[in-house]
Each structure stands twice: as structure tokens, then as C-alpha cells.
């Protein structure tokens, strides 16, 4: 079927502001938006720039704003979107070129929450024990692929880019609730600062955007609750 693809283009060397460009492509209804972008790139305009790698929703490269919502281009089909499809870079992040945004700030926030196991005890000879029910507490937040769809869909983040953002909180949650970890106090202190968890207004855009189906808001609230518990 014929699809009209509107893509927000931006060439930093020639454009002063982003502009929209339309492409007509003949697409299978089962094709994904990533396939359409490839069709354009390979057959019409090789300068179209976007990130992608795995092609099946596991690497987190191709999160973008598709028909007004953040999604992975490789995980959304034409028949779910209709004949007019608009594609723009992730909102709220600096655009580098076309659909590519600068993710450095996003990763810096991720690093800021100490996203690694902290445990200074000498490890045992064999594995540390952890019961299945202890593991279940943080299972959901281990799924994150750091695609950025959540943070860049969050109105609190748009309003104030200093907000550490849902993705970083998700990754802090993954360790705060890991029974083997001893860094919870440190992380909770980081997250209770002005741009930490309190900026979340339970808007749920992040949950709707997350391609991994993580219940992000729940994780955020569990972290807030942990801070409340610890301080009161």
C-alpha cells in the first residue's frame, strides 16, 4: 500500500531549523517503520540519518517520535499507524542530525545513579545466594535497554531537563532492590535531591512509551517510598 512518510529532517551543516520532508513509499502493511526508513534511505535519499542496529527491539537504538508517540521504529508496523506516518527525533533532546539525538546527557544521568552492584564484602567461593522471591522484586527493571523513549516522553523532563528521568530511576531501582547490593542509601540520597524522584508527577507517558513493557511509574514510586521509609 502507498504510505506517505513525513520525516523531520535537520542537517546541521545547512539547516538553521528542522524541516519536514515527505516521501511516498510502497509498503507492506506488515512492514515496520524501520523498514520504511530503510526504503527511503536505500532507494530515495541516502542522506537520511537515523540510528538502528538489532532490528528487533533489543538494542534500543531507534527510539523516535512516531505519529506523536515515542516508540521503537523496529517494533511498530505500518498497519498499526495508517497511511500517513510522521517520524521525528525523540522530543526534549538536542537533535544532532535528522532523527539522531544527542544521548550523552541521557547516559550521564544513567551513570549518576551508580548503576552497578555495590558490595564491598569479599565474595564467597560460589555464587551469592538469592531466593527467587528476592529476585522477583527487581526483575521488571532489569529489562531496560536504555532506549530513552521514557525519559524523552516525560513532560517533567521536557519542562526541566535537569530531571534525572525515569530511565535512570529504573536502573537505580534495579540495584536498590537487589538483595546483594549495599549501595541503596547512597542511591536514595542521590535520588531525593531536587531533580530526583520528586519531579515525577505520575504522568505515565513513560510507561506507555516503554518498548520493554516496564512498569516504570511503579518503580519510581517504590523508590520514593523507600526514601520516605528511610527518612521518616
Amino acid at each position: 500500500m502507498q504510505v506517505t512518510l513525513r520525516i523531520q529532517r535537520f542537517d546541521p551543516e545547512h539547516d538553521s531549523a528542522p524541516r519536514w520532508q515527505e516521501y511516498r513509499v510502497d509498503a507492506d502493511p506488515m512492514a515496520r517503520v524501520l523498514d520504511l526508513l530503510h526504503l527511503v534511505k536505500w532507494e530515495q535519499d541516502a542522506s537520511l540519518t537515523f540510528r538502528r542496529s538489532c532490528g528487533h527491539g533489543i538494542c534500543g537504538s531507534d527510539a523516535m517520535l512516531i505519529n506523536g508517540r515515542n516508540r521503537l521504529a523496529c517494533k511498530i508496523r505500518v498497519d498499526q499507524l495508517g497511511r500517513r506516518i510522521s517520524v521525528a527525533p525523540l522530543p526534549g533532546l538536542p537533535v544532532v542530525k535528522d532523527l539522531v539525538v544527542d544521548m550523552d546527557g541521557f547516559f550521564a544521568k544513567y551513570r549518576s545513579v551508580r548503576p552497578y552492584l555495590i558490595n564491598d564484602q569479599p565474595p564467597p567461593v560460589r555464587e551469592r545466594r538469592q531466593l527467587p522471591q528476592e529476585r522477583a522484586v527487581f526483575d521488571d527493571t532489569t529489562k531496560c535497554i536504555l532506549c530513552g523513549a521514557c525519559t524523552s516522553s516525560c513532560p517533567s523532563f521536557w519542562a526541566r531537563s535537569e530531571y534525572v528521568g525515569p530511565a535512570a530511576i529504573v536502573n537505580a531501582h534495579r540495584f536498590i532492590f537487589d538483595s546483594r547490593d549495599e549501595g541503596a542509601a547512597e542511591r536514595l540520597a542521590i535520588l531525593s535531591d531536587r531533580d530526583g524522584v520528586w519531579r515525577c508527577r505520575t504522568i505515565f507517558n513513560c510507561v506507555d512509551a516503554c518498548p520493554r513493557g516496564i512498569n516504570i511509574t511503579r518503580a519510581i514510586l517504590e523508590v520514593s517510598a523507600a526514601i520516605v521509609e528511610r527518612t521518616t
Partner: protein, 132 residues
């Protein structure tokens, strides 16, 4: 080669003052209180009575003649002031960028809040005597 302390790789540890936690907490407590107080206040003045029946004298003689109602309204006033000003503070933090404009606006906000607090309190405390 700069050696990086593993524990500080990434963002420096911010100084959490606990104020945000306090605000978050009290927003919720005042929220629950307001659910009762504000809705009751609105219902009483619009459903039980009607503005057309009300006047300054009526307030002074009927509503604030008992201590209970004065306490009620004063509590409502405090709660609503805290809740709404802290709510607006959040909105200001969100949308006003730049240190100076924000500082100005915040100061104005706190001053207005304080003035309303004083004015409101004095009315509740002194009104019946004044009018009578």
C-alpha cells in the same frame, strides 16, 4: 592519565536537603485534609446555603460565632495556602528557567503566601468582634 575514583564516576553526589521530601510528603497530607475540608467548605457555602443569603454580618454572626467553625476555616486556610503555594512552586520550578527569574518569582510567591497567611489569620481571629 587521570585516575577516576570508581565511586564518583558519573555525577557528583548532590546535596539532598530533605526539603523536597518534606514538600512531597506534606502535599499529600494536606491533599487528604483538603479533600475533606475544601469540599465541605464548598458544599456548605453553595449547597446548604447560597451566596444570595450570605453577607458579612451573616458570616460574623452565624458562621464564626462558634469556635469550631473558626478552627475549621483557619485549618482550611492554612492547609490550602501551604498546598497551593507549594503546588505553584512546583509549577514555577518546571517552567521558569534561569536562576534570577526563578529567584524573583519564588520570593514573590513566598511573600504573597506570607501576606495571605497573616491577613487570613487576622480576619479569622478578629472578625466577629469587629463586625459586632
Amino acid at each position: 592519565m587521570v585516575t577516576i575514583d570508581p565511586r564518583t564516576a558519573g555525577r557528583a553526589r548532590p546535596q539532598g536537603s530533605g526539603f523536597e521530601l518534606f514538600v512531597w510528603y506534606v502535599m499529600r497530607i494536606t491533599g487528604v485534609m483538603l479533600f475533606v475540608l475544601a469540599l465541605a467548605h464548598f458544599s456548605i457555602l453553595h449547597f446548604l446555603f447560597d451566596p444570595s443569603q450570605e453577607s458579612a454580618t451573616w458570616i460574623a454572626t452565624q458562621r464564626w460565632n462558634s469556635l469550631i467553625w473558626r478552627v475549621f476555616d483557619w485549618t482550611l486556610l492554612m492547609t490550602v495556602l501551604f498546598h497551593s503555594f507549594m503546588g505553584v512552586r512546583t509549577v514555577v520550578i518546571d517552567y521558569v528557567h534561569g536562576e534570577r527569574p526563578r529567584l524573583l518569582l519564588m520570593s514573590a510567591l513566598y511573600i504573597v503566601g506570607l501576606v495571605l497567611f497573616v491577613a487570613g489569620t487576622s480576619v479569622v481571629l478578629t472578625l466577629p468582634d469587629k463586625v459586632l
